[in-house]
């Protein structure tokens, strides 16, 4: 008997976005965990309130935790945390906008509108990414 054929995982948009959603979800969990632990190690328990802790967890940027009473935040602004932030921004924005697309497409059934929607979301996504990256890199 011939071996049964299965398509090799292809460049199918729906499949890739589905996969990306899972991977980015898992990645964000991991990044958040690292950020959270990182913040604690750095003394967040004594110097930050919960909101600030969370801000650090999800966006480990010294500017972002300005209103904490950490004495000296300058050393935190290193490349390591910047990469963490970039990844988080990228995953979060992409995962989120794709999620938004999925949700809206379930309500919009005409092709034309779906296309328009994708364009609008794409633009918003790029702007958000741009703004996010800008914030990370300039602070």
């Amino acid at each position: 008997m011939k071996p049964r054929k299965v398509p090799t995982p292809g460049w199918n948009f729906e499949y890739l976005m589905w996969l990306f959603t899972r991977i980015s979800g898992a990645a964000m969990l991991l990044l958040a965990l690292i950020g959270f632990v990182g913040a604690l190690i750095m003394g967040a328990r004594y110097h930050m309130d919960l909101g600030t802790l969370m801000r650090w967890t999800f966006f480990p940027n010294p500017n972002h935790v300005l209103n904490s009473d950490i004495p000296d935040i300058a050393p935190w602004a290193n490349a390591y945390w910047q990469i963490m932030q970039l990844l988080l921004v990228f995953f979060g924005a992409t995962h989120g906008f794709n999620g938004l697309r999925l949700v809206l497409e379930e309500y919009i059934h005409s092709w034309g509108w779906q296309l328009a929607l994708r364009l609008v979301l794409m633009i918003l996504w790029l702007i958000t990414l741009g703004a996010g990256f800008f914030l990370v890199l300039t602070s």
Binding site: M1, K5, V6, P7, G10, Y15, E105, H109
Partner: protein, 234 residues
């Protein structure tokens, strides 16, 4: 005991809008809900319209919403519901034709779209194609489907967008994709990887809870998705 039935009614020839009607019937705790419907139709109101055939859960005619959940009327006993107030409504997400009867065409269209038939273009042997009991067991669960539509019409994803092929179609594709004798897995997986295929499933489980054949539908969908993602059947 006396049971109160609240039934969704809609007659396209006379009604602009659907309404509910209430009937009281005498029932045994072991009566099927289908028996009560027959009783109402036979004794009180001959216009009440619903589908039924086998009366024991093997033909898939009488899927409907019973107390808010998709069930086969012939497979729910009064005592299983734990109340003497029973609300009966048609399936969601398919057009209602009359009372509890819905138009099944969109459902079967999706079913047909996944090539739900055996594909093997090799010349068959003299006798049977061999298959081990383990290979046979691999897809046993999904061979049980009776196309009652309880699953697809319980799926919020399908409610939102009727273009989603729905769990029943995926179940029937699964039945062949995992059959060791079949060679059509590639075609089917391509169809199911499409925008309205398996990735529309959000693991909501309503389908699995509704299936009167107790098919592990969400699991089957997961296995199909995994086959698409990994390019392997195991």
């Amino acid at each position: 005991m006396q049971v109160t039935l609240k039934i969704f009614r809609y007659n396209p020839e006379t009604d602009k809008k659907p309404h509910y009607e209430t009937y009281k019937v005498e029932a045994e705790p072991t009566d099927r809900v289908l028996d009560l419907l027959e009783k109402v139709k036979g004794e009180q109101d001959g216009t009440l319209t619903f589908r039924r055939s086998c009366a024991h859960g093997v033909c898939g005619s009488d899927a409907m919403r019973i107390n808010g959940m998709n069930r086969l009327a012939c497979k729910v006993l009064v005592k299983d519901l734990g109340t003497d107030h029973i609300t009966i409504e048609p399936l969601l997400g398919l057009p209602t034709v009359k009372d509890l009867v819905v138009d099944m065409e969109p459902f079967f269209e999706h079913y047909r779209s996944v090539k739900p038939f055996f594909i093997n273009n090799d010349p068959p042997p003299q006798k049977e194609r061999l298959q081990s009991p383990e290979e046979r067991a691999r897809f046993d669960d999904t061979t049980k489907c009776i196309l009652c539509a309880a699953c697809t019409t319980s799926c919020p994803s399908f409610w939102l967008d009727g273009q989603y092929v729905g769990p029943a179609a995926i179940v029937n594709a699964h039945r062949f994709i995992f059959d060791s004798r079949d060679q059509g897995a590639e075609e089917r997986l391509k169809i199911l990887a499409d925008q309205f295929g398996v990735f529309r499933c959000h693991t909501i489980f309503n389908c699995t809870l509704a299936c009167p054949r107790e098919i592990q539908i969400t699991k089957a969908i997961g296995e199909v998705r995994k086959a698409i993602a990994t390019g392997r059947l195991d």
